[in-house]
């Protein structure tokens, strides 16, 4: 597929690729870290060529919600392995959540994570700062200092835990206005979900597992939307999982309030029925819900009520998942399969076209994350972050083995369409022919 030119000046010529919403079967020239030209008959001596016939080009994907586990849980994942997985999934930037050990609640930790990302070099790592010290929900963390640090944190989240104290949530929403920050809430009323294991419904009743009621998510979202409106700040809702939550967000947006929302790939495809065999690979927070919820989430992603897809990639070591349900950790991996799941759930069902996918997996998440260098539509002059994807690749069963250190994917054995062929970060390939470059 690639052939070396006489003098390799580091540039790349991608030929025969289709840009969704733009030209079909055109060429893209990458050089000096940017897209230098787009057109049907480009040529450039010194460029390496990539035959992209039949492929589509998306702006490099941006994940607003990833757990890289480093520092502290390197048995599950490291920045190196997590970003490698991200690149293989077509991502050029990931937001690394703060629930590490130590928690990313100081400039020191966020700068460490940021540096580890640059050293690994597979994709850009944008650290997320904790809202409260130690995620304890009691005291605000030094949000301003983290914003001013080299990591330039703009998204703050206690994800894993909910900022449940209404006063603290109000203060956090107000405080980040000073530097255009956004609070990303993991909406889960702790009192309504003590010991919860699975969506509260027919399955939980049958299986004898403590229920996680939808209202525990919806009530917090409703409150936070009202708070954000009251103080004039921006709220981002993590991993929306219920139809009721969608209704509340739609209402908040209709009032012109600055509320954005994300949905995970697994919530677009899977339901709580999968828990029937008690395999904890399906245990996740928020839990898998019902068919009706899945249908509403898909509609909401299509009509823009939900702004973007975010993986909530949550790697866990084998022993945390190969146990009784109640003992198992919550979480699923997702970076490597995200685009394929979205194709299955949204594109192949006719709900969304690839241009729409580009918006929801690159342009809008970058905007929400205030990530200036990413999420640019593919035009000359844009940064050279792009993803080449083959939507027509024959459906293949997902294997648990991948670049991630962890194997807890709920899609193991499931046939998914499509294949990420290449990922370019600042004009340099991170992934070629589906393998790390």
């Amino acid at each position: 597929m690639t052939d070396n030119a006489v003098t390799d000046d580091g540039s790349w010529l991608i030929k025969g690729v289709t840009i969704p919403g733009g030209e079909e079967r055109t060429s893209i020239l990458l050089g000096g870290g940017s897209i230098t030209a787009i057109g049907p008959e480009l040529d450039h001596r010194g460029a390496r060529t990539l035959d992209a016939g039949g492929l589509i080009a998306l702006p490099g994907l941006v994940d607003l919600h990833t757990h890289l586990r480093e520092p502290g849980r390197e048995d599950a994942e490291t920045v190196e392995t997590g970003t490698a997985a991200a690149a293989l999934g077509g991502y050029t930037a990931v937001h690394a959540m703060a629930n590490t050990d130590p928690v990313a609640d100081t400039a020191g930790v966020v700068e460490q994570v940021w540096r580890l990302g640059r050293a690994a070099g597979h994709c850009d790592v944008q650290p997320v700062g904790a809202v409260t010290v130690g995620l304890n929900g009691a005291r605000l963390a030094e949000l301003g200092t983290m914003a001013d640090s080299a990591a330039r944190v703009r998204v703050f989240s206690d994800d894993g835990r909910c900022v449940s104290d209404p006063l603290l949530m109000r203060r956090a929403l107000e405080y980040v206005k000073a530097f255009d920050g956004v609070i990303a809430q993991h909406a889960q009323d702790p009192r309504l979900t003590e010991g919860a294991q699975l969506n509260e419904g027919e399955m939980s009743a049958r299986l004898g597992l403590a229920g996680w009621p939808a209202v525990a998510e919806e009530a917090v979202i409703a409150r936070d939307c009202l708070l954000a409106a009251h103080v004039g700040s921006a709220l981002h809702v993590c991993h929306v999982s219920t139809a009721g939550s969608v209704e509340i967000i739609r209402w908040a947006k209709s009032k012109g309030w600055r509320v954005t929302a994300e949905v995970t790939p697994h919530h677009l495809l899977l339901t709580d029925e999968l828990a029937a065999g008690y395999d904890p690979v399906f245990k996740v927070n928020p839990p898998l819900r019902t068919e009706a919820d899945v249908a509403e989430l898909r509609r909401a992603l299509a009509d823009g009520t939900i702004d973007c897809v975010a993986t909530d990639h949550a790697p866990h070591p084998v022993e945390a998942k190969e146990t009784e349900w109640a003992e198992a950790a919550f979480g699923m991996t997702g970076l490597e399969t995200a685009l394929r799941v979205v194709q299955r759930a949204m594109v192949d069902t006719g709900l969304l076209d690839w241009a729409g996918v580009a918006d929801r997996m690159s342009v809008w998440p970058a905007r929400i994350g205030r990530l200036a260098g990413h999420g640019h539509p593919l035009v000359p002059g844009a940064p050279g972050h792009l993803t080449l994807y083959d939507p027509a690749a024959p459906a293949e069963a997902v294997t648990p083995a991948g670049a991630s250190k962890s194997r807890n994917t709920p899609f193991a054995g499931m046939e998914l369409p499509g294949r990420v062929v290449a990922t370019f970060l600042r004009g340099v390939p991170a992934v070629l022919d589906g393998k790390l470059a």
Binding site: Q197, E200, G201, E202, S204, A205, R206, L207, G208, L209, G211, P213, G277, Y278, D279, E319, E322, T323, E324, W325, A326, E327
Partner: protein
């Protein structure tokens, strides 16, 4: 019958009747001078009890021994499990010991399912978390049939009998298994409990629901009382033991309103004075003592039907 007995839903009406009829035949064993049959000689049954339950464990042990099986008791206290050994590693150890059947009682719902994926023998669920306790439902059904259709009844289900189950259904594995099995056998089941102790999705279960115990008593052939744990009070399931007892406890006055031959059951252990009054527990309507004897008999029937014939074909890892 299938290789494992994990949920009462695993049993068709035919399976359930086969177990009850087999138990009927084995019931007379207790009256014989030699209370033993050679049928499971050379088979090994492991009792894997993570929760303290002397009565159930002894019941399974007696059942296995009366069929001449070898019994190995493995209780969690003071064992490798207490030192943090995982369920999977314990399962692999049992496999290596050649267990033909593992009887498991565990505090986590789904533990029996998981175990079934790791051992080749039969898995018998003796109670997993708040999920199910199928042999309890079987001995309850057997007790009901003997009392209300006569000892020696065979090939008969529980058709037309009205059973009311009272108490903490939400956290009760006994309730779940009984709702499934009793309705499979043709009984009409009603759950009577405060709304906080019923699962929200109970409407999809094969039974009726009532919040008013008194209205159900005159039309019940069987009243099955479930144990209520005092800890539920601190989690705000009901305001006080006193109020619970007043509204849902079975006292002598309520017992007097039961129709003629109606019986009172309790899986044990009882909270005398909370869900059931002492005079009710000791009355002639109460089947509490014979439930214990019937437990051994029904468990013998289950062990025989699972292990007494040829081995089930290997089905691979259970999902």
């Amino acid at each position: 019958m299938k290789r494992h007995l994990i949920s009462a839903a695993d049993l068709s009406r035919g399976d359930a009747l086969l177990i009850l009829d087999t138990a009927e035949e084995l019931a007379s064993l207790a009256d014989r001078p030699i209370k033993k049959l050679p049928t499971l000689r050379g088979r090994t049954v492991v009792n894997l009890f993570y929760e303290d339950s002397t009565r159930t464990r002894i019941s399974f042990e007696a059942a296995a021994k009366r069929l001449s099986a070898d019994v190995i008791n493995f209780s969690a206290k003071g064992s490798s499990v207490a030192k943090g050994e995982s369920l999977k590693d314990t399962a692999l150890t049992l496999e290596a010991m050649g267990a033909d059947a593992v009887v498991i009682r565990h505090g986590a719902s789904g533990a029996a399912h998981r175990l079934a994926g790791w051992v080749r023998g039969s898995v018998l669920n003796a109670g997993d978390g708040t999920h199910e306790h199928p042999t309890q439902a079987l001995l309850d059904a057997f007790t009901i049939r003997r009392r209300l259709k006569g000892a020696g009844a065979r090939d008969a289900g529980l058709d037309g009998l009205r059973v009311t189950i009272v108490g903490d259904v939400l956290h009760s594995r006994v309730a779940r298994s009984n709702v499934l099995l009793l309705s499979t056998l043709g009984a009409e089941v009603t759950l009577a409990a405060p709304p906080t102790l019923l699962p929200l999705a109970v409407g999809s279960w094969p039974c009726a629901v009532s919040y008013d115990l008194d209205s159900e008593l005159p039309k019940s052939d069987v009243v099955m009382m479930l144990r209520v744990q005092q800890e539920r009070m601190t989690a705000a399931y009901f305001p006080s033991v006193r109020e619970y007892s007043r509204r849902y406890g079975l006292d002598a006055a309520r017992m007097a309103r039961l129709p003629g031959p109606a019986i009172v059951m309790h899986p044990g252990p009882m909270n005398r004075g909370v869900e059931i009054a002492a005079e009710v527990a000791d009355s002639v309507r109460s089947t509490i003592v014979e439930q214990v004897a019937n437990g051994v008999t029904t468990r013998m029937a289950v062990l025989y039907l699972l292990l007494g014939g040829m081995e089930f074909p290997a089905t691979g890892v259970a999902q």
